[in-house]
């Protein structure tokens, strides 16, 4: 197993606010790393900083051995990182088909075969192929956002709170899709729902007040009642 992504002491400012104040984490190839922490701890900003949407003001981000700290967002994405934002950000007046098409970096035979495979993970999308993104349900939008990131052969997927605002039955489908995606790619997942996080995560990084507090194997965190109570408020 090799290290795919490393953040070392990353600081990020948004306007006058010092949001990330020393985030360090690693993601091993083929694993799911879960970012945990309270609301406002800096989990979403960490993903946005990796993507270059809120560039790091100090510290380093290495991906596949390359320093990507200062690269523009599109170069980072083209390096093989897919991003599923917290608010899904589907293109509301584009159809499901167009949402996927705009994301596809290539449209050759292999890319179309991959699209077909992705649609087997999210069969609802095929049913609503010509429907505009804005007219989908919350769960369908989440699936479209994940399919859009997964339609390219990305090495790393950053997924931000995929269960947020979804009904339990939909969450189960989303989880199933993440488990399937895990077979093919490395994932960094932000997830507030601890049982869901524990169900898919191999490792965790705990962030509090913009700083990494602890990292380790997920099974160790599941057993550590003190850590969960202190930083996640789980009794």
């Amino acid at each position: 197993m090799s290290r795919l992504l490393t953040l070392e002491n990353v600081h990020t400012h948004i306007g006058q606010y010092h949001i990330l104040q020393g985030v360090s984490l690693t993601a091993e190839e083929g694993e799911v790393t879960v970012l945990l922490g309270r609301n406002g701890a800096g989990k979403t900003t960490t993903l946005r900083t990796i993507m270059g949407l809120n560039p790091a003001t100090s510290g380093t981000i290495h991906y596949g051995g390359q320093d990507i700290t200062k690269l523009p967002t599109f170069s980072i994405a083209n390096g093989g990182i897919g991003y599923v934002p917290e608010d899904q950000a589907v293109f509301t007046t584009l159809t499901v088909e167009e949402n996927l098409k705009v994301a596809m970096r290539k449209e050759d035979e292999a890319a179309m075969a991959r699209q077909d495979y992705v649609l087997t993970l999210f069969p609802d999308l095929k049913k609503f192929w010509k429907k505009e993104g804005g007219h989908l349900s919350g769960g369908q939008k989440q699936m479209l956002a994940m399919a859009r990131a997964f339609v390219n052969d990305n090495r790393l997927m950053l997924i931000d709170e995929p269960s947020k605002g979804l009904a339990p039955i939909v969450i189960e489908s989303v989880m199933e899709a993440i488990r399937e995606m895990k077979k093919q790619t490395t994932i960094i997942l932000v997830e507030q729902n601890f049982s869901m996080a524990a169900g898919v995560g191999d490792t965790y990084t705990l962030i509090d007040d913009g700083e990494t507090v602890q990292s380790g194997r997920m099974e160790d965190l599941v057993r550590d009642e003190e850590l969960k109570r202190t930083y996640l408020g789980i009794a």
């Binding site: 967002t73 994405a77 584009l94 705009v102």
Partner: protein
């Protein structure tokens, strides 16, 4: 009836010219959220370069192509030097593009002289046809056709091509487009150059229509184009077409029936639309 038809054809022709100018403006605003007051300057440069190339080559087609190329080059320079440093700041955009508009107008005087220049209509587009008592001026019909053709081509590009898809996605969410691996700054540049090319095309077609070109024409027509963009809905391409036709027709009818209101009619139209639909007739998301 004949009179009404004549006024309608005149109004449509004027509307199409305003549409060509407003089309670039609305594309630039829709995707880039840039208020480009220098757009009229690009229009005026299109008009002057069209007259210049026509004088040099004697070919109307080459003059239009030359004007469009001038617009593309000026669009490239404007985006790189003037617009890029002020992305995301509307106040700075208004100030710097208004200033650049004046620079472009003054540069016309430096290059072509301070006086207005006569613009000729090519022989094959001069004159008129008469059909059932209605006089159809060839050049006005030509402008209407070009306007419709440009609308169809741009709509085709926006709806049926990958670059059009990217532009439409960029209007909705620029950040997400970048996160999909697309260099949005490059897309911005292309859209700006396309908008400038449309402005220059409008200028080149306007020159024979009005018979003269003058340095201040940019500001004059830019105001009309802004009215059209506001009425049509900021960032909406079909909205601009509909609004330009409305403005063209209203101006044509009013100039004949109530001449004293012909200048005010555009403002009245804009006020009425804004009272009932503050977002304009369409929104960019409906486009």
């Amino acid at each position: 009836m004949d009179l009404l038809l004549n006024l309608t054809v005149n109004g449509l022709a004027t509307g199409m010219l305003i549409f060509l100018l407003a089309a670039g403006l609305t594309l630039i605003f829709g995707l880039m959220s840039v208020l480009n007051f220098a757009h009229g300057g690009l229009f005026a440069w299109g008009a002057f370069s069209g007259v210049f190339f026509y004088g040099v080559t004697g070919s109307f087609l080459i003059s239009v192509i030359g004007a469009v190329l001038t617009g593309i080059v000026l669009g490239f320079i404007t985006e790189k030097l003037i617009i890029k440093p002020v992305y995301g700041n509307h106040v700075q955009q208004i100030l710097i593009t208004l200033g650049f508009m004046l620079v472009l107008s003054e540069m016309l005087k430096v290059v072509f002289g301070p006086n207005q220049i006569a613009a000729k209509t090519p022989d094959y587009l001069s004159g008129s046809w008469e059909a059932g008592g209605v006089i159809l001026i060839k050049y006005r019909l030509f402008i209407i056709l070009v306007g419709l053709l440009v609308f169809a081509v741009v709509q085709f590009i926006l709806k049926r091509t990958k670059i059009g898809l990217i532009v439409r996605a960029g209007v909705l969410n620029k950040e997400m487009v970048q996160a999909l691996g697309i260099d949005i700054n490059k897309v911005f540049l292309y859209v700006f150059m396309a908008g400038a090319a449309l402005a220059a095309l409008a200028g080149a077609l306007m020159a024979p229509y009005s018979g003269v070109v003058y340095a201040e024409m940019g500001l004059e027509f830019a105001i009309l184009a802004f009215i059209v963009v506001v009425i049509g809905g900021m960032g909406s391409f079909p909205g601009s077409l509909l609004a330009a036709i409305l403005v063209g027709l209203a101006g044509s009818y009013m100039a004949y029936f109530v001449p004293s209101l012909s200048l005010a009619v555009n403002m009245i139209l804009m006020a009425v639309v804004l009272i009932f639909r503050p977002q304009g007739l369409f929104t960019a998301k409906e486009a």
